[in-house]
Amino acid sequence: MSLNIIVLAKQVPDTRNVGKDAMKADGTINRAVLPAIFNPEDLNALEQALKLKEQHPGSKVTVLTMGPARAAEIVREGMFRGADGGIVLSDRAFAGSDTLATSYALSAAVRKIGDYDIIIGGRQAIDGDTAQVGPQIAEKLGIPQITYAEDIISVEDGVVTVKRRIESGVETVKAKLPLVVTVNGSAPDCRPRNAKAVQKYKYAAVPSEVAADEAKKEFIEKRPYLSIGEWNASTVDADLAQCGLAGSPTKVKSIENVVFTAKEARRIENNDEELEGLIKDLIANHTIG
């Protein structure tokens, strides 16, 4: 059977190579110095979706992302790698959303899409590291969820079989469609961009981008496959009280800027006693555990 797959993806600041100017004085992220990237585990999720699409011909992969209009880059990136299209959920009303408000807005968008079999997202985003949005969406939609997935093994007769990472190893579980799957970073890497897809979709854009580009406007409008959806709060019938800051019970009290610096050097001799001492010290100060 063909599947309708929604991939949840987020554009995040690249926090993996953080320099000393990564945080501003007020403790917020200095987005100007951190490149915006496709959240790494969302790429693992996209790969699972594209694999399912290959196994189930006729399937459709839609990338759904919430963010400013430039988050259309994420949808394009998905299309370059094999997704069929996507939607950017963008509204000032969503600004300042915590995980509860984010999952509310995204679940409203999923309802608006309506026809879906599997929603796949990364386990967590590298800017917040909460791992809450996927599970909350499942709860709001009232459907099952499988977290920490490493491999969506099969989808047969409305039942999905998933190998998931647990603390002591892996386990294989089954659940009924439709459902939410969150994918762990230990899952296979996403495939590269495809040469034909890049050439086909390079001008794909959301309406606000199209409006700003007179030269390409007619070209894009003639080709429906180049249109990326751009939805706002009213498109998805969202209750504004549950959106953005208003809908976010999480309040950030303060942010502490922790900088690791090497203060001292210790020389360890190459013998069992010294090494054991080092290991005990590292356990004691929670460097390893």
Partner: protein, 569 residues
């Protein structure tokens, strides 16, 4: 994220070469595919933007998949299991990445599933793949055998095989045999015509790169009783039909990830390509020219890797209280490595542009008669491609060997250990000046263009070009070198002895090479000051080399050749 395209300014420089506009417009037939295929370009800028984006994908895969796997592939290598080749697992991952990215059949037309890229951006991809892993370049780069099917096979064969190559099936060219290496006229593999008109192949092939490929191009003797090249024809063997087994793979010094096979053909069904008897004299010559350009790209890629490894080590390694790059003796090696690398790449892309134009004209000529003007251009570029291909293959592969040697030298004792990539590069480089025709055979192909003046005419064209005034001094050196070259050619050709001509041929070809590469770098420096240093260093080097050859030739009495020849052997 590391990217072999984005970190290499030279590739973008050549992608924006002025001649690219002509190449792209011809290749795209003035953008006739624009409304037929959703991935076809609308105009020149759109096409170049597409090449740029696709090369970025190649750069990503090269840096993050293929280069990362190179060491593992070198250690694991392929195996023969039940007469079939089993690639190293990491090789499979490389191939899978290239297939998923749609990087197979890049130069094939869209109607057959390809990207319709000109040769030049395809060669850029080959340049990067080789930098990542020269052995893998062989497997990936054999896709250019599809060119031969496209040029010479029937429409039915094109429809049958080329889309499969574009989907990621691999190819091989089964030419050499135990007794037919450089001398392909001695090929013995027997092609027997059956009553229904089809053929079967019987015999043995040796040293076949990727010999267990999906689609083979095979050179075989179809004319019973014939002895020379005129009895040889070209065939396609499809692995799906069976009949060819891999007896063994060679245990090689380098490019270990690329299986080099001995093949046994036992009544293997095969399809004739084109006409009988043209196998060697027409089709293999075309195939080899494409392959030689591929080896030039492989050589440039390895040179690039070697230079980068050496540069990084020289900056990091401290001796006598400072990084070794600060010692003039080390700096000189590095500067010369870079100059040879840049000169090699300049020659590679000059050659690929010539190949592009004449091949596209050949293709257009199948659709409609060429105009008089177009025919003239086709002839002009075809001749240049013919002259530059052996020159590029010969010079770049020798420089690639020199650069990997110097890369180890920069690493000192550590370079002799197995701990650094330089030792693999050194081993991988060694084959480049041997296969697809040794350097000595490239000279045989190139010397014609010394005697008929193709090189000198091109040099005179370079000479006539307008220059920024600050480059006059360099140009004067090149003009002087040209005079020495012209004198040397006259001196050698003035002696009526073909052995003597053969003896001096390599010196003359190299002299032409130095001057041509000097002018190409001079041209690059007009557009991009990044090339200034390499221009100066290379011309200094070339000047000394040309003088060395001129001196050897000038001081040589033709009868002294007897001191060198083994006449009684």
């Amino acid at each position: 994220m590391a990217n072999f395209y984005n970190d290499n300014e030279a590739l973008k420089h050549y992608l924006s070469h002025p001649l690219m506009k002509k190449i792209v417009e011809l290749k795209e037939r003035n953008f006739a595919d624009a409304d037929k295929y959703d991935y076809a370009p609308q105009d020149f800028d759109d096409a170049v933007d597409s090449y740029d984006r696709v090369l970025e994908i190649v750069g990503d895969i090269c840096a993050n998949v293929i280069a990362e796997n190179a060491e593992e592939v070198d250690h694991t290598g392929p195996q023969v299991v039940n007469n079939r080749v089993k690639y190293a697992p990491a090789t499979e991952r490389n191939l899978e990445a290239c297939r998923k990215a749609g990087l197979m059949g890049m130069s094939m037309p869209r109607r057959l599933g390809g990207l319709n890229f000109p040769i030049t951006p395809y060669i850029m991809a080959a340049d990067m793949v080789s930098r990542a892993d020269a052995g893998f370049e062989n497997l990936w780069g054999l896709q250019d055998c599809a060119e031969t099917i496209y040029e010479f096979a029937s429409e039915e064969q094109k429809q049958k095989y080329i889309p499969r190559v574009c989907q990621g099936e691999t190819m091989s060219m089964d030419l050499t045999e135990p007794d037919a290496g450089s001398d392909l006229q001695s090929v013995m593999l027997k092609a027997t015509k059956k009553e229904d008109g089809s053929y079967v192949l019987n015999g043995v092939k040796r040293f076949i790169t990727n010999g267990d490929s999906d689609i083979h191009l095979v050179l075989a003797r179809s004319e019973e009783g014939s002895k020379d090249g005129r009895g040889l024809s070209m065939f396609i063997y499809d692995k799906r039909n069976g009949g060819v087994n891999v007896r063994r793979i060679e245990n090689k010094m380098g490019i270990k990830g690329s299986p080099t096979c001995e093949l046994v053909y036992k009544d293997a069904p095969a399809e004739l390509v084109g006409s009988t008897r043209l196998g060697l004299i027409k089709y293999v010559m075309a195939l080899m020219n494409g392959a030689r350009l591929g080896i030039a790209a492989q050589s440039v890629g390895i040179s690039e890797a070697a230079y980068r490894e050496a540069l990084q080590y020289a900056k990091e390694r401290q001796q006598f209280g400072k990084p070794i790059i600060n010692f003039p003796a080390v700096a000189e090696i590095l500067s010369l490595m870079k100059a040879k690398l840049d000169a090699s790449r300049a020659l590679l892309y000059a050659c690929s542009r010539f190949v592009d134009i004449y091949k596209i004209y050949d293709d257009i000529a199948k659709e409609r008669p060429l105009t008089v003007e177009e025919k003239k251009e086709q002839k002009y570029y075809s001749r240049l491609a013919d002259a530059f291909t052996p020159l590029a293959k010969g010079m770049t592969s020798e420089y690639c060997n020199q650069n990997t040697y110097d890369c180890i030298q920069i690493h000192g004792g550590s370079g002799f250990m197995k701990d650094y990539a330089c030792e693999r590069l050194y081993r991988d480089a060694r084959i480049t000046s041997i296969y697809e025709g040794t350097t000595q055979l490239q000279v045989v192909a190139a010397i014609r263009h010394v005697t008929t003046g193709t090189y000198l005419n091109k040099i005179r064209e370079f000479e006539a070009q307008e220059l920024k005034p600050e480059f006059e001094a360099v140009k004067n050196t090149l003009v002087f070198m040209t005079q020495q070259y012209a004198d040397a050619v006259q001196a050698v050709m003035g002696v009526d002895d073909s052995k003597y001509h053969d003896f001096m041929a390599r010196r003359l070809v190299e002299m032409a090479g130095h001057i041509i590469m000097g002018y190409l770098l001079l041209d690059d420096a007009q557009r991009n000051e990044e090339f200034n240093k390499s221009l100066v260093v290379y011309v200094k080097y070339g000047e000394a080399e040309v003088a060395r050859h001129a001196s050897f030739i000038g001081n040589f009495r033709p009868e002294q050749i007897e001191d060198y020849l083994y006449t009684n052997a």
